[in-house]
Amino acid sequence: MRTRDGYMLELERLLQAIPEEQRREWLYDYYMHFEMAAQNGQSEEEAAKELGDPRQIANELLLSYRVVQAESSNSFGGLSRAVFATFGMGLFNLIFVIGPYIAVAAVILALWVSAAAFAIAGIGTIVESVWIGTFTLGQAFSLGLICCSLSILLGVGMNVLTKKFFAWTLQYLKFNTRVIRGKSK
């Protein structure tokens, strides 16, 4: 198989996850690169070497795509996909990005669950006192209100924290997309 076809097929395979229209638009640049290089009398091997490893190119494209997606979707799923796209960028990211991301995301999730649990406990106490009556209605109401207020306070705090977490993660990922490789010698 010709070097150029092999290169383009490899790049296309690596970008399977990208919607077809976007992928075609990107691939055209590399297709044109081979075309123009040939016009300038370069061999396909030289052109491929100049472009560098297709895996590196695919990683860079995937990461910036995921970051743009995460910014517009504003969902945990989108953000996580963007974080995991750094996986291809090397071991450093596995240890210093994906690891801490999972840890902090777990803590945030746990705190949200606690906020929900407080709300359920508060409402549950009141309902229970009406139904069965372990507490008097007065006791149940004060206990319930304390639990509900804690839940609301925690919820408000978590809302801010979650937003910050999103912003910081995206900022770091963007910084990562701006790192440029040196010339492959």
Partner: protein
């Protein structure tokens, strides 16, 4: 050149090169890789990212030789972004130069 210097600087160069008229990818990639010794392959992902961020729009134009070329055109947002980056760059290099000049004075 030190690899740290290249971060971000390429973005400014690509944007500034496109101010004097629409460019096709190959032109930008080769011009920049010659000057900065970066892999040609890393210029295209940069162009793609700037396009996704809305700083470039692209269109195809027939060429007398070979298949149509993909041109990159600065959007109004791109112009604004370019001016911000250039202003930041100027302030930054001015500060660095002042310190360097003071430092090497005997």
């Amino acid at each position: 050149m030190n690899i740290q210097f290249k971060k971000g600087v390429l973005e400014i160069c690509v944007l500034v090169l496109a101010t004097s008229g629409d460019r096709y990818g190959y032109e930008l990639a080769v011009k920049i890789s010659e000057k900065f010794e970066v892999a040609v392959g890393s210029v295209y992902p940069l162009l793609n990212r700037l396009t996704q961020e809305g700083y470039f729009s692209t269109y195809l134009k027939e060429s007398t030789e070979g298949p149509p070329r993909k041109y990159y055109q600065l959007t109004p947002d791109g112009w604004k972004h370019m001016r911000t980056l250039v202003a930041e760059w100027n302030a930054f290099t001015k500060a660095v130069n002042e310190i360097v000049e003071e430092g090497i004075r005997p």
